[in-house]
Amino acid sequence: MRLKFDEELNNLNREMILMGSMCEDAINTAICALIKGDPEGHKNVSAIVTEISHKEREIEDMCLKLLMQQQPVATDLRTISSALKMVSDLERIGDQSDDIAEIVSMQNVSDADDKYEILDLGQASSRMVTGAVDAFVKRDEKAARAVIKEDDTVDDYFDKIKKELAKSIQTDETGLEKTLDLLMISKYFERIGDHAVNIAQWVIFSVTGILEGNTK
């Protein structure tokens, strides 16, 4: 019985890693599409996101089954319950990557020359997702805290971009749609960062048993 439980926990862990890496793929594909201004990128991201949604259901099923059948306690309970919470954040990350790729596919931003700041923001949030998944995989509290800290960088980037975009609206009214799209993309990246922070917090919870509130 116990042996089976351990095996199922291992499976859960593996599925979580898979889902985490799918999210990394999704956000990186979205960033790639943004760099190249490639409308085809949206298809690729959508395909990954569909898979991510399936994985989410699968993992939820697994977690619920484990909770009901094995009635885990202590660390195991924390692992399973935080996995249950983490998948929703991971799924959101996938969705937002999809949204970004969708905006890119509308071709309003493909010739934007001020994308570089946004790319920095995107890369920072992608780093956060990778860091969060890494922290989960290695059960590394320190790595999780680093992710939470990096959120400040992402927020700074976002504030800066927002101000610049506001300025560009005042000076140049022709590219309004482009500016709004860029703002949306930035916001999605910023949200992805927040989800990564949530994941990191759940990692800390599953390691230490202490659930820290949102620091902001």
Partner: protein, 563 residues
């Protein structure tokens, strides 16, 4: 052991008891038979006398308990019987004891009575009136005697069993104690029992075999570990679930595995999409897979090979090896081809365009010369380019004549400056040569010349209007130093490592007007490398660059030996 001994003792004792019991029973049975016969005879005699004296009434008053008394008339008719109604009884004349008594006055017999279903001892006595009196007593059967003895025998058996249990334990302890004390590490040094020496010999042989086998395994494992831990490639062994069985140092370093990795899911260490795909292919389909993955700026080829047992995958071997060089070389080759085609195409476009205009007659006669000149310069450009490409590919293939000769570097530099004087004048760049008299180097003249030429050529080309170029030659104890410095546009720091690459241009937009093929420094690098010379670059954007080439003495030694 105790149980075994006990069991055997029990069987032995039980058999002995049974034999003794049967023997005793046999003896007792016949003894009791004789005694009883005597008794019955005496009783019959007494009864006969009493009947003679008192008549049949005696018999009727007699209270028979176990004894059966029968009075039979001389014709065999039963007159009286103590246990049954006389009239119902059959004629007794044919009974052996009665027959005998009628003849000899007294008869004995022992037989099974059909009437009472028992064995009886009969004794008949003829009375004076011719009737026969018979006394019958039930015979003690062997079973009766045995039944009487059984409780005693059983009790005896129980007592014996208890004794035997203790005895067996003692015996077992006595036998096993020396066995337990055997020194099995040195089985041949024991001499407790001669009986177990074959066993000891076998143990000894097996121990030797085990020790040999163990030694062999340890050696194999040591060799394996030594080989895997020191190999430049990363090696990971996975089980059928994709968990790490083992990995070598290199793989651990690449995957940042830390100390505890055995039993870890490999996806926890490496989860990139490409790797996931080939791993799934190996674990689920049993297919070999490979991919190129970057690790810390280096490219590694990852080979995943399933280990099969029949059709089932029982594990996977993952091999990681560095293919950075191959990848870069490949990329360089690709870039080189693309660059060569591009560089060749540009002048061809100009030439083709001019020629077309001339052919169609759309050029005014006074402009014709200009067009022809354009064609001429572009063709010249192509010729230099093709020459440079050929030269560099010669260098690549090592097809250059490497014979060394005595070179006066000053003279050579002087000649080069002379040949470039026109270019320098055009840009108003002053070129000066500074050396400590004669600087002699033993080396490959053509290579050395191309180094000097290209460096000075670049220093003039990438200079500002009215700039300065200083060529310095210094002969030290073991080295000769060539230094070409200018106060031109300089090279930005991020480009400094790349300028020796083929066709690399710092300022791509201006390269066309400056001319040059983009191969100059690549040739310098190659030529220096072939002569073991070191190139150093110090440059600051806007302030100028200094290229320093240090030719080693070693080349000189070899050259002298050759001369």
């Amino acid at each position: 052991m105790t149980r075994q001994i006990f069991k055997h003792m029990l069987i032995l004792i039980t058999v002995a008891l049974l034999v003794a019991f049967t023997a005793v029973l046999g003896i007792l049975y016949s003894y009791f038979g004789v005694v009883q016969e005597g008794q019955v005879k005496a009783e019959a005699k007494l009864a006969a006398q009493a009947v003679e004296a008192e008549g049949i009434s005696y018999l009727e008053n007699l209270d028979p308990d176990t004894t059966r008394v029968t009075l039979v008339a001389s014709d065999g008719q039963v007159i009286y019987d103590s246990e049954a109604d006389a009239s119902t009884l059959e004629n007794h004349a044919d009974r052996p004891e009665i027959k005998e008594a009628l003849v000899s006055g007294e008869g004995m017999s022992t037989r099974f009575s059909g009437t009472l279903l028992k064995s009886f001892v009969y004794c008949a006595e003829r009375l004076s009136d011719g009737t026969v009196l018979r006394i019958a007593e039930p015979r003690d059967t062997a079973l009766n005697i045995a039944a009487g003895m059984v409780p005693f025998v059983l009790m005896l058996l129980i007592i014996l069993m208890v004794c035997m249990w203790f005895a067996a334990r003692r015996v077992a302890a006595r036998i096993t104690e020396p066995l337990n004390r055997l020194d099995l590490d040195h089985p041949m040094e024991n001499d407790e029992y001669e009986e177990i020496s074959p066993l000891l010999k076998r143990i000894y042989a097996q121990q030797k075999q085990i020790a040999d086998e163990k030694g062999r395994l340890v050696r194999i494992e040591r060799d394996f570990t030594a080989v895997t831990q020191h190999m430049a490639e990363g090696l990971i062994l996975l089980d059928e679930e994709g968990r790490v069985l083992n990995m070598n140092n290199k793989a651990g370093k690449l995957l940042n595995a830390g100390d505890v990795y055995i039993g870890m899911d490999i996806l926890a260490l490496e989860r990139r999409e490409k790797f996931r795909e080939i791993l799934a292919g190996a674990l689920e389909e049993g297919e070999h897979g490979e991919a190129i993955l970057p690790y810390d700026r280096l490219s590694y080829q990852v080979d995943v090979t399933p280990v099969m047992d029949g059709k089932k995958v029982i594990g996977t071997v993952v091999l990681l090896f560095d293919v950075t060089e191959r990848e870069t070389a490949e990329q360089m080759r690709r870039e080189f081809t693309a660059n060569v085609s591009h560089e060749l195409k540009t002048p061809l476009h100009t030439i083709s365009g001019c020629a077309e205009m001339l052919e169609s007659g759309g050029v005014r006669p006074e402009d014709q010369k200009k067009f022809v000149h354009l064609i001429y310069t572009q063709v010249q450009r192509m010729i230099t380019l093709v020459q440079d490409i050929l030269y560099i590919s010669h260098l690549d293939e090592g097809a250059v004549d490497m014979s060394c000769s005595r070179i006066d570097m000053c003279l050579m530099a002087d000649k080069v400056i002379e040949s470039l004087s026109q270019e320098a004048e055009k840009k108003h760049v002053g070129v000066s040569l500074d050396s400590d008299g004669e600087v002699i180097y033993y080396g490959v003249a053509r290579l050395t010349e191309s180094i000097i030429f290209n460096l000075i050529d670049n220093a003039i080309k990438y200079n500002k209007e009215g700039g300065e170029v200083h060529v310095r030659l210094r002969a030290a104890a073991h080295t000769i130093t060539l230094q070409v410095s200018d106060n031109g546009i300089g090279i930005p720091e991020e480009d400094q490592t790349r300028i020796f690459e083929r066709f690399y241009r710092v300022d791509k937009s201006r390269s066309r007007e400056i001319g040059g093929t983009g191969l100059g420094l690549a040739i310098v690098k190659h030529a220096a490398m072939l002569q073991n010379a070191q190139i150093r670059l110090d440059s600051q954007p806007g302030r100028g660059s200094t290229f320093t080439v240090v030719f080693p003495e070693k080349a000189t030694d070899e050259a002298e030996a050759a001369v």
